[in-house]
């Protein structure tokens, strides 16, 4: 996301940090979608639509390490569901409300996948850290 570590060649640690923050954006988007599942609005335009971040590769040509960034957060194309609910205070002249176009199952899968991939990056980072420490200390066997 941020380009705070833009000086110097990209290290494994930079790459992992970027990947973790990208996965975090993905988890936040899924959480927002889940939080807004079932909310209603008085028009189709006003209804909540699911947010979906799209990732892009950041290649550091000097080291060949490819990290990831959030290219953008886009609104899902899933259209809101029209419901007839005349008692709802938000209902329009026809007594209709629009429920947010959020697929809760898809959001749960998105959340699980993002957290698993986050864990994978953390594990890779831990291994890389351990190997770097071993190399620095040239551990005595």
């Amino acid at each position: 996301m941020s380009s705070s570590n833009s000086q110097g060649p990209m290290t494994l640690f930079d790459a992992s940090a970027r990947a973790m923050s990208a996965q975090l954006v993905r988890m936040n988007a899924a959480a927002s979608n889940l939080a807004n599942a079932g909310t209603v609005a008085s028009s189709a335009q006003g209804a909540y639509r699911a947010l979906r971040p799209v990732f892009a590769t950041v290649l550091d040509k000097t080291t060949g390490i490819a990290s990831v960034k959030v290219q953008g957060v886009y609104q899902s194309g899933a259209s809101p569901v029209q419901l007839h609910d005349p008692d709802n205070p938000l209902a329009d002249a026809n007594g209709d409300v629009w429920s947010s176009g959020v697929d809760e199952n898809a959001e749960m899968i998105e959340m699980t996948e993002a957290s698993r991939q986050y864990q994978n990056v953390v594990e890779a980072l831990q291994t890389a850290k351990q190997l770097t420490l071993d190399t620095m200390r040239m551990k005595t066997s």
Binding site: L12, A15, S16, R18, A19, A22, Q23, R26, V54, F55, A56, T57, T63, G64, I65, A66, S67, V68, E113, A114, Q117, N120, V121, A124, L125, T127, A128, L131, D134, T135, M138, K139, T140, S141
Partner: protein, 115 residues
């Protein structure tokens, strides 16, 4: 001097470190649409280096795109099982090479001290 002291292990460690970066890149890009997973053919790169190629040359010629078992719909070819296995294998290889280097250093130390 450096080459004769550490032999093949110096080159191997360098290649293992580079491969660690490539495999971490694959794991980091598990959710990037269109990302093509890469890997370094370790033995091929090491062979090139023993024949006098530089690290950059050896890696350049031995880096290949991964052939996916089941490509994803979004064009991403990262398969976690493959990547994690390769990552573990490479990490152990790195550690083994590091031990070899350490042994070499210990041997030279012992010879210098005349113990």
């Amino acid at each position: 001097m450096g080459d004769s002291l550490f032999g093949i292990h110096g080159m191997a460690l360098e290649l293992r470190a580079q491969r660690l970066g490539v495999l971490t890149s694959n794991i980091a890009n598990a959710a990037t649409p269109g990302y093509k997973a890469r890997d370094i053919d370790f033995s091929g790169a090491l062979k090139a280096m023993t024949q006098g190629a530089s690290v950059t040359q050896a890696i350049g010629s031995a880096t290949q795109y991964r052939v996916p078992v089941m490509p994803a719909l979004d064009g991403n070819t990262v398969e976690m099982s493959t990547e994690q296995t390769a990552f573990a294998e490479n990490a152990i290889g790195y550690e083994a090479t590091l031990n070899m280097l350490q042994d070499r250093v210990n041997t030279v130390n012992r010879a210098l001290k005349g113990e």
